[in-house]
Amino acid sequence: MSTATADKDARTKSRKRPSAELPDKTLVGWLRDMMLIREFEIRTMQAYSNAKIGGFCHVYIGQEALAVGTIGSVNPDDPVITAYRDHGHALARGMDPGACMAEMYGKITGCAKGKGGSMHMFDKPNHLYGGHGIVGAQTPLGAGLAFAAKYEHEVMGKGGKKVALCYLGDGALNQGALHEAMNLAGLMGLPVIYIVENNGYSMGTSIGRGTTMSEDLTKKADAYGILGATIDGMDILNLYDHFKPIVDTCREESRPAFIDMKTYRYHGHSMSDPQKYRTKDEVEGVKQRDSIELLAAYLMDDRKAITEDDRKAIDKEVKAIVRDAMKFAEESPVPDVDAELYSDVYVNPSPGCSPIREYVKGAKNPLL
C-alpha cells in the first residue's frame, strides 16, 4: 500500500468506521441489491442453458459486493464504465432488470435494443458508459470520462466535482491501454478510479502466471505516481470503509487512484469453462466468506436492523423482480430486421455512406 493510502487509513481508523455511520436503510438496500444480482445471474445461467441467451455470457456471482459497494460510494451522476462482466454493475447502477435481461434475450426492449448483448450494458440515464468486450478497451475511456467531467466543471463552470469509476479485470492489467491511461490520468490529474476486480484469474490464467508483482499491485500505481490501495472486496463494510475516503480524496483533489480489489468468481469464466485450473476446494473455501452472508449476518446479528423474516421477504422480493424481468424479456418482440439492422449506425446518415442500402432511424432506445 502506498504511503498516501496508509496515512488515510490511519486517519479513518482514529474515527468511527465510515460504514458505521450509514443508515440501516442504505445497508439493507445494498443487501437487497446484492441478492438481486445473485438471483438475476442464477436465472441468467438458466436462460443461457435454455438457449434463450447467446454469445459470450459472463456472470457476476461471487463479486456482488464489489459493484454494489463501489457504486454505493459515489454519486448517481458520477460516470461509470466497466468490462464485459457487467450485469452486476448495470443493476447496481439502477438499470431496469427487465431491460438488462431483454438485452441478453436479444429483444428490442433491451438496453441496447438487442444489438449489444451481455457484454454491452449501456445506461445513459444512469451514467453507465457501457460494458466493453475488448479486454482493457474501457481503461482509456475511464480517463476520458474523468477528463470531460473535470473540463465541464473547470472550463464550462457546470456540474459539481465528479469522479469516474473504471472497472477492469485482473487480466486487463497486462494491456498496454491501461498503462497509457494511468500515465495520462496521473499527468493530467484526472479524477478516475481504476478498480481492478481481482478475482485471481483471467480465463484459465491465475494472476501470478500472467502479471508481474501480483502480490502487490499497488506498485503499478506507484509507477505512475497515483494513489494505490489494496482492499478486500468481499466484505462490503470493509470495502466502503477503505474505498469511500479514496473517492472523497480523488473528487476533492482531482486525482486518480488505482485499487486492487480482491474478489472471486464462483462460476467459470464464461458459460463454457471446464475450470480445470482451480480446485473445488478452493472455490468452496472462498464461499465460506460469501459477501451476501457476511452483510446479512451483520445486519441481523450486530446491527439488529433486520430479522430472518425480513431477509426472507427480501429474497421473495428479488425473486419476483427477476421473474418479472424474465417474463418481460420472453414476451418482448425481437428487433425488426428491416427497421433495426441499418439503424443506429450514424446519427446523421448521409446518402452514399453504403453501397448496399441507405441507413435509417430506428426505434427510440427504451431507456431514453
Binding site: F56, M119, H132, T205, L341
Partner: protein, 332 residues
C-alpha cells in the same frame, strides 16, 4: 486450379487438422514455437493446441497474458532474428489491439530494411462471426488487412486445406495471416495420413456449372454450397471457386471460369465497402470485361456493425438466400 485429394477415408476435425500441421512442422524444425493466450496449460481456448504443451513443453508452447500488442511484436522480432513463430490470436478481433505491430512491422520490415530482414511469422486465429458475439468480437479482418502489401492471407474452408495451407504458411518466408473460423473448428473432413501441402494462390473448384461463377473463401464457401443446391432446383448451375488465399489471389482461375459462365458473384463475409469482393470485381473488370454478360455482383455481410440479436445476426451474414437472390438477378 487444383482439386483436393480425396484418397483414403481418414476424417478429422478442422481443429485437429490445424494441430497436425503445427505439430508435424514443429517436430521437423526446432525454430518453430507457438505463443498466445491460453494455448498451453488450458490447451487452447478452442482446443486447437490440445496436447501440444505435453509434447513440446513450456519453452515452445507458451502462454501469454492478454497483451496482444506485446506478444505480436515479440514474435515479429523473433522472426527477424531467425526463429519461426506461430502467434495465436484467440480471435482476429483482438489483433486490432496489435495493429501497429502486425500491419506496420511484420509486412514492411523487408522493405524498410532494404531486403535485410524478412519476417517469417504466422499469425492465426478465429475470424468472422462466432455466433452472437456482437460488434467488437465478430471481425472479418480480411478486407482491412488485404489492403496491405507485404503480407499473405490464407482462409481455409475445410480440414484438408486447413492443414495443407497452414504447413505452407509455416514454411513461407513472409508473414502469413491465417484466418480460421470458430464456426468450422468442429467440422470434419478428409485429411490423408501422408504428408502434403496446399500451395498459396491456387483456387479449388468446388463445384462445376455453366450459368454463373461463384467466388468465395473460408466459411462463406459453405453458404455458396447451400445456395448452389437451391439454384440447381431452378436449373441454374454454378462454378464455385474456393480461393483458399486472398493475397495472393488466383485471378487466372476466376477469369478462366468466367469465360465459360460469363457471370460472376463474389461472396465475402467482410463489409462491402473496399472489400476483397470489390477487389475481385475490379480485377475481373480489368482483365475480362468483354466476357461479362451481366454486371458483376458481390454478396457481403450487411454494411453495419455485427449485431448481437440472433435474428439480426442471421440476416447480417452473406447467407444462402442472399446469394440465391443475387445469382437469380443476373441469370435469366
Amino acid at each position: 486450379m487444383t482439386a483436393a485429394t480425396t484418397n483414403g477415408d481418414r476424417t478429422i476435425q478442422f481443429r485437429e487438422a490445424l494441430r497436425e500441421a503445427m505439430t508435424e512442422e514443429m517436430r521437423q524444425d526446432e525454430r518453430i514455437f507457438l505463443l498466445g493466450e491460453e494455448v498451453a496449460e488450458y490447451n487452447g481456448a478452442y482446443k486447437v493446441s490440445q496436447g501440444m504443451l505435453d509434447e513440446f513443453g513450456p519453452n515452445r508452447i507458451i502462454d501469454s497474458p492478454i497483451s496482444e500488442n506485446g506478444f505480436a511484436g515479440l514474435g515479429i522480432a523473433a522472426a527477424m532474428y531467425g526463429l519461426r513463430p506461430i502467434i495465436e490470436f484467440m480471435s482476429w478481433s483482438f489483433s486490432l489491439v496489435a495493429a501497429d505491430q502486425i500491419l506496420n512491422n511484420a509486412p514492411k520490415m523487408l522493405y524498410m530494411s532494404g531486403g535485410q530482414w524478412g519476417c517469417p511469422i504466422v499469425f492465426r486465429g478465429n475470424d468472422g462471426a462466432g455466433g452472437q458475439l456482437g460488434s467488437t468480437h465478430s471481425w472479418c479482418v480480411e478486407a482491412l488487412f488485404a489492403n496491405v502489401p507485404g503480407l499473405k492471407i490464407a482462409i481455409p474452408s475445410d480440414p484438408y486445406d486447413a492443414k495443407g495451407l497452414l504447413k505452407t504458411a509455416i514454411r513461407d518466408e513472409d508473414p502469413v495471416f491465417f484466418l480460421e473460423s470458430e464456426r468450422m473448428l468442429s467440422d470434419k473432413g478428409h485429411v490423408p495420413e501422408e504428408e502434403y501441402t496446399v500451395p498459396f494462390g491456387k483456387a479449388a473448384l468446388r463445384r462445376e456449372g455453366s450459368d454463373c461463377t461463384l467466388v468465395s473463401f473460408g466459411r462463406p464457401v459453405h453458404f455458396c454450397q447451400e445456395a448452389c443446391d437451391i439454384l440447381e432446383g431452378d436449373g441454374i448451375t454454378c462454378d464455385l471457386l474456393d480461393m483458399r488465399t486472398v493475397r495472393p489471389l488466383d485471378s487466372e482461375s476466376i477469369v478462366e471460369s468466367l469465360k465459360k459462365t460469363n457471370r460472376i458473384v463474389v461472396v465475402d463475409q467482410s463489409w462491402p465497402f473496399a472489400s476483397v469482393a470489390s477487389e475481385v470485381i475490379s480485377q475481373v473488370c480489368e482483365k475480362a470485361f468483354d466476357w461479362l454478360d451481366a454486371p458483376p455482383k458481390r454478396v457481403n455481410s450487411d454494411d453495419v456493425p455485427a449485431p448481437y440479436a440472433k435474428n439480426l445476426e442471421a440476416a447480417f451474414l452473406p447467407h444462402a438466400e442472399k446469394i440465391v437472390t443475387t445469382v437469380r438477378s443476373i441469370v435469366r
